[in-house]
Amino acid sequence: MKTGVRCQVSGVSKKRKKVLCPLALLLFCSFALFLLFTIHCSLFTAAAEAKVYVDITSPEVKKLPIAIQEFNGKEGKNIADIIREDLDFTGFFLCLDRAMYIESSLQAFNSKNWTVVGAEAVVKGNVNGEQNLIVTASFYDVFENRELFKKEYKGEKGSVRQLAHSISNDIYKHITGENGIFRTRIAFVAEDEDKKGLYIMDWDGTGIKRLGIKGDFVLSPHWSKDGARLLYSSERGGKWGIYLLDFTKMTERNIFEAKGLNMTGNFFPDGDEIMLASSKDETYGLYSLRISESRLTRITSTRWIEVSPAVSPDGKLVAFVSDKGGTPQIYIMSKNGYDIRRVTFEGSYNTSPGWAPTGENIVFVGRSSGKHQIFTINPDGAGLKQLTDRGNNEDPSFSYDGRFIIFSSDREGVNGIYIMRANGESQKRITPAWLRAFGPRWSPN
């Protein structure tokens, strides 16, 4: 089994490895923790000042011109290319063309070589080792002519992408003050021999793995806040049940089953309570379920369709889809089912609501000229924005930093998974063309 030794810098990697190999996990956990401390203590050189180079919270972001030099040594170009792709996608960096560089990768950093090409920050690095790689990355501020940080990353040759993503995370954090998404994963649904299964991959579309769950159909999953569990609805033997997968043990448990259609929503912030839509006992409506106590509470009861409940990040509100006005539209209510108000009024078909992590807006699918597109809207119904315009686009959800949106689209024929910035820029497919993929959800870490 190819278990990538991930970069030990990131504490997050502990959880991730569990997916791959529970046994290897224990070893790495302790190892990773150990290194986490040593690296933090010894390798940060100049991370003390909290200078924010790019204020990504401002509406008009000025991109930071950055030079990412090929790293010296094995996989050095590959690593530099991955960092470049990562940073470029965010829209906060202007990655300068390598052909412009005057300073060679073997030369020591000299700010004069970079001011002339317009770089404000420079990344240089070295790779040592053949199978077990030790990568040293250095990050420089050109104006101040100094090293911002120098850090060592270790990993197997096979985990070179993760290594590079970790470097991207550190650069991103240094420049923006926020955590990067470059080590996150995507859970999604894909089709294989007419059966729909649950899959997992890195955010850049690499490392696709199928989770070995049963059943012919599964719907878009939801992550728990700690990234250790996955919640989803699956049809098995003519029954729709709700299941919870625990990555730490690689086990799955049926947490809700009833006659009728049962489809899960997401977790409340406490990580134990969830929202779901059910036609249990033929009383159609939305319910909350406290998993630890198997306690089901009916929130709404309706003779219309009410589905896709989405709990707001603060846990106080629930957005959902109802056709009580004659067409499917998005509504919001309090957690207890009070103060129901309609959010969408444009168009005759609005579904799949998902909250931005700030709670400031909702991403959803709306039908426009017969095609399905991704929109965002404020919870009060103002600020409607259309983000896509090619093909049919479905299943949108925000990344946990709120900077990006992941969705599925048939714009290039076969349905695949795409990512874009939260404002709709930089739309790109991340799944391979041969894989019919749907319902992506971004991991929280």
Binding site: F217, M263, V321, T351, S352, V365, D395, G439
Partner: protein, 193 residues
Amino acid sequence: MKRFLVLVFALGFIFAGCAEKQAVKAEQPAMQETAQKAAVPEPVKKAEPAPVAAKEEPKRVETVPVTEVVEAKPVMTTFENIHFDFDKYNIRDDAKPTLKVMSDWFVKNKSAKMLLEGHCDERGTNEYNLALGERRAKSTRDYLVSSGVGKDRLDMISFGEERPLCKEQTEECWQKNRRVQFIIKNASEGSRK
């Protein structure tokens, strides 16, 4: 089987004229019923008190049951799918003849149970489509219940857009997929996948 199909087609053609349709709908099954009822008891009654006409009657005794068996079997496993409008789950008029035949069939097959499968076309959101498929199954169930079929004999499931009959992106194909499909659940009757 053929008679049943003819019946369905006939009703479908006359669909345009509402008044006529009702008249036909009432007539034809009624004819079918009386024909069967008349045919079966007749030989029993006539065979005993009137031995004089023995030459003709044995033929009738033998032939009538045969045609009845042929007629009953195929009907049990081949109910046509009924179809729905885009984004809608109300029972269309063109589905009513099928449902009428079906409720009659339930009267005759007292132990029969049926699974109503709701389906949608590919357009639309997965979760909403599943709910839509379920509502299509429920409208169908409610319609059958209102025409006298016991609720406990009808089960429902929705497959949303997951099991299309047709995979092209044309209205003709989408219409085929927006359907309720009927699966007879008697153990003796092979169910269709």
